[in-house]
Amino acid sequence: MTISLVLVIVMAVLFACGVYAMLERSLTRVLIGFLLLGNAANLLLLVVMGVPGVAPFYDGGETDAADMSDALPQALTLTAIVITFGISAFLLALIYRSWQLGQADTVIDDADDVALRTRAADEPEDAMDEESRSDDEDVTTDFVGDVASPIRVLHQGDLSQLVDDAPVDRVAVRRTDDDEDSRETPDGDRP
């Protein structure tokens, strides 16, 4: 059984890029990652189809079965494409809503988890916590260069400390002169 090596390579690259993009906190990149992953999975379905041949209906059904393409993976791929399409539409709506509410489309940490972390750091009598805290005091991040808490949570307010050259899907800089803010916001019609 010979199959196109190009398809396999493209599939692998798509999987890799998709996983990479999905690891981002930005929802738009998650969406792009999901699209890439979905396409990679569809390509995988096409690869397992085996040697491509003619359509089963070609030549009035007189083709030898060995020359036909396997039709089932194509049906599966079509179904998967439709599902991916619907979910992408929903994700877009979700991203827009997230932007409307918070002017950001990032995934934010759970409030209870953050509280649990700070609670653990606030209890000095616990030997285990003390150990982890003393470790943490030596830790610095590449981006900020200051002392980091157990896990540095980046919120929108921290943007001035965050050095990121990549184009961000948020309001990039909080302006002090408010006049031009309406141009930045996509939903200016909001009350």
């Binding site: 999901f34 599966l76 599902i83 979910i87 979700l94 509280a115």
Partner: protein, 518 residues
């Protein structure tokens, strides 16, 4: 009789379509939704009696020859779960009707809740009766997409935040599942579950292990098995109470159901039981330790949910017909009890305006009926005799003891510890919320100081009355939980029969006979 099988999926979908047409007429929507779910309940009951007496039913959609087209397959396990699911969906629907009427629908836009709810049901039923892997995938997607809508219902900030976590995690598991299906097709040339199990033995063990792990990984994310359970306690508590109740009761169990099929039907020769046992043990222990550290009732329950998934994985890891039967009984018990507890907590939230056990107090005097409605499912989940939680755990431990290896003994001890800690977490909530007097001083607070600065969910201090229909729905569910105990004998026997049926397996020829194609 087999003509009834596709209706299990068709009726809720048609109901959802009618609901969308009558988007602005709430009463029509309610009537249609209740009617659709009642019809499915009746159908499920008929099918359950039929398959229990005459053996499994297979239906070839559009009369395609069996390994080629879509096959629906109903055995005792599937029919039983369909019945339980429709009972739960119906009770929670009544509960949500009461809540919507009382809240004047400020949080839940009417036009979309009922259709999404019915589509969720259709997806769950489709997953239960799917006879091929790809149809199982489609069933998963239907229920997931509906659940995305339900978990972000109303689009408030907290729901979007938690919904995003849930959605992204679910997307990853869906892609994994799809890739696993492609690999299975590449290796075996079929997606029909019966044919897969027949051809699987031809593959080398390494290939089998890879396919096995990929499928398990996809299902384990959905079933919230440790270490893939991190998303669940974050995302469930913020949804509306009825939505959380349905998700907690049903969605993880669909994942467990898929794991049952994987373990007992698809990979008969490929043995990952030791891995499953370790995963089950850590799910039980880590989950329940999470519950002990929480101060918010919905989060406590979410963590107990994760921990009790461990029992089901434990039962599957034992992998004897007896253990599979016990697992099925445990799933039925857990679906109903967990949903009931979430409904009771929904009532507490209404009555007291909060679900933080540090803030709510004096409920015993203020709402004695509510106390009963919380207490019965709570000790049931904790596994006190004579309730079904005890019976289910006893059946599991019995099946494990019959295997009798040292690992089994470790798991039994782990299961007992988990059961006691569940009881501890739920009873602490009981002591604080119900028995604490309203004018209680800080004495209790000092004893639970480690919970002291735990954050509570958004508090609305306003005390609202509880509509009768919400209480009635919860009372009905509590009665169902008690009847699980009363009718434990016949039910457990049926579950054990189901366990024997699915471990015996079917051949392709038998499947064709059941569909009337030979």
């Amino acid at each position: 009789m087999s003509a009834l099988v596709p209706l299990l999926v068709g009726i809720p979908l048609i109901g959802a379509a009618i609901n969308l047409i009558f988007g602005r007429r709430k009463k029509t929507q309610i009537v249609v939704s209740v009617a659709a779910l009642t019809a499915v309940l009746v159908l499920g009951a008929i099918l359950l009696v039929e398959v229990d007496t005459h053996g499994p039913l297979a239906v070839a959609i559009a009369a395609w020859e069996i390994p080629f087209g879509i096959v629906l397959y109903v055995d005792v396990l599937a029919a039983l779960l369909v019945v339980v699911t429709s009972i739960v969906l119906l009770a929670v629907l009544l509960f949500s009707i009461g809540q919507g009427a009382a809240d004047n629908d400020e949080d839940t836009p009417v036009s979309i809740f009922y259709p999404a709810y019915l589509i969720l049901g259709a997806g769950i039923f489709n997953a239960f009766i799917a006879g091929d892997l790809f149809n199982l995938y489609v069933g998963f997607e239907i229920l997931l997409v509906a659940s995305y809508v339900l978990i972000t219902l109303g689009g408030t900030e907290s729901r979007i935040r938690t919904g995003v976590v849930y959605i992204v995690v679910s997307l990853v598991s869906s892609i994994l599942f799809l890739a696993a299906i492609a690999m299975v097709y590449g290796a075996l040339g079929t997606v029909n579950m019966v044919q897969i199990s027949e051809r699987m033995a031809l593959l080398p063990q390494d290939t089998q292990t890879i396919l096995h792990l990929m499928l398990l990984l996809a299902f384990a994310i959905k079933a919230a098995v440790f270490p893939l359970s991190f998303w669940l306690p974050d995302s469930y508590p913020t949804a509306p109470a009825p939505v959380t109740a349905v998700f907690a009761g049903l969605l993880t169990k669909v994942g467990v159901y898929a794991i049952i099929r994987t373990e007992t039907q698809l990979f008969v020769d490929n043995d990952l039981n030791f891995l499953l046992m370790m995963v089950a043990l850590s799910t039980m222990i880590v989950g329940i330790l999470g519950a002990v550290a929480q101060a918010e009732l919905k989060r406590i329950l979410s963590f107990t949910l994760v921990s009790h998934i461990g029992y089901m994985i434990f039962g599957l890891a034992i992998n004897t017909p007896l253990a599979v039967g016990a697992t099925i009984y445990y799933i039925v018990h857990h679906i109903i009890v967990q949903t009931t507890l979430f409904l009771a907590v929904g009532l507490i939230e209404r009555r007291a305006g909060s679900t933080s056990i540090l803030k709510v107090k004096g409920l015993m005097r203020a709402a004695p009926l509510l106390a009963v409605l919380y207490f019965i499912p709570a000790i049931n989940l904790g596994g006190l005799p004579p309730f079904s939680g005890f019976i289910g755990k006893y059946a599991l431990f019995d099946a494990a003891a019959q295997v009798g290896t040292p690992v089994m003994m470790v798991l039994i001890v782990g299961g007992i510890v988990t059961s006691i800690l569940t009881l501890y977490a739920l009873m602490r909530a009981w002591n604080l919320s119900f028995w604490r007097e309203n004018d209680d001083s800080t004495e209790t607070m000092e004893r639970i100081a480690y919970l002291g600065n735990a954050p509570a969910a958004a508090i609305s201090t306003e005390r609202r009355t509880i509509p009768k229909i919400m209480t009635l729905a919860t009372v009905g569910m509590v009665i169902v939980t008690v009847s699980l105990t009363v009718f434990a004998g016949p039910l457990l026997e049926m579950c054990l029969r189901a366990g024997v049926t699915i471990t015996d397996g079917v051949s392709l020829v038998q499947l064709q006979e059941q569909a009337g194609q030979q």
